[in-house]
Amino acid sequence: MLYALVASLGDLQLAEDVLQYAVETALVYWNRHGLPRSPASWLLQVARRKAIDRFRRDTHFRRLVPDITYLTELERSDDGPETVEEIPDKRLELIFTCCHPALDDKSRIALTLRTLGGLTSEEIARCFLDRPGTMAQRLVRAKQKIALAGIAYEVPSGERLNERLPVVLAVLYLIFNEGYSATSGKEAIRRELSDEAIRLARMTAYLLPAEPEVNGLLALMLLHDSRRATRQLGDRTLVPLEAQNRSAWSRPRIDAAVALLKSTLRQQRVGPYQLQAAISALHAEARHWEDTDWRQIAALYDLLYSSQPTPVVRVNQAVAISHADSPVAALNVIDTLADIPKIESYQPYHAARADILSRAGRRAEARESYDRAIDMAGNEAERHLLITRRDEL
């Protein structure tokens, strides 16, 4: 309902306010007079009337005349009972607005969670360790920017969709990761975030069936999530893929993801999320760590690197090569990163290099790399794991 209101009002804050008002009115009115024939249309009507009211009182009255005319027309055409099915689905427009590149990263995430995920600003604040007041302010500022800067509520078309969709997907993936591998926060809240990201990806996939990358992301999230129960021991130890109890991986999630991925790959428009999901699926399908199809994984990383030439992908590619081929071959690959500025402060580089060096039998260098990786570890669990490995050298 909120989406329908935003669509006709063009103002997220106003839509939220008038809907809130309509719900409050309904609580009193329905209590006294019973449920109306169509509660949804009743709420929409009250909300729209309130909006007209607000517009009339607004000092910007004259500028808004076209808006009022439109609303009054809507109001007049409102003769039959409107059912929920008839309310236009504006969720896709809304998600593109919330994830507009003209908003900063954190605001995109917060706004998406607040508007489409239905989390309260207190809940969102807790997820991101913000004070509730700070988060509320961030949301207000973001909504103000949308209104004042004239960010449209629309799905970008043609070439622009190709630019904007990755931003939406990145926001959803960030939300998921915040819930999946957060360095802090209670498990229950994190669980909620991951579920929310999966739900939003599913919704986006449903609304944008022609874009295979959305399903690629959805499959990737499901695959990560299938390992959720096994990736951490207690709240301290991060269990590497190698040592995870594969029988505790969620089969239904894996099966759903693999089926989804197969039908998506058939569209033959492969992108980075589909590739990452394919890699993750190969891990999921190996009964034991030893059965992992490293050759295919290395080949997929090769493809991924050609579209995303980032150190992250390079590091993972080297790890795959170390298993598919040899640790020495992997060293040649990972050492191509040595010249990149700032690589010294990139922790996964040192962690992966330490592992590869130790398997290549270069223990002194491995120890050195472990020391660096430990110094820079992002959380206690990871630090603990790396210390154990170093001490096993």
Partner: protein, 117 residues
Amino acid sequence: MQYLCLIYHAEDVGPQPGGPDFPAFMQAYQTFTQEVVEKDMLVSGNALQPVATATTVSRETGKVEITDGPFAETKEQLGGYYLLECKDLDEALVYAAKIASAEHGRIEVRPVVVWDD
């Protein structure tokens, strides 16, 4: 809505007057201006003299103080602007990105306040 596209760049970066790439650069500006004129989007637009010609005044201390130089001593300086009439921010961003100086500088896009009298 109207959007002000503020063109910022370092004056010693990019094509310089008299340089081999300068005519093409000017041509790109002309093409852009023509496009926004034809589409009835141009409200106004101007190039500014180099920042060395800037003078800043203030009455913050109660009397008029005049200083040589721009308001902020940054590497990238305001070099010109376009005021465009656009449907929404997305359209404004598309056109801002077409401005020739976007290739070696940055365009800040600001919506203009509409006053009610």
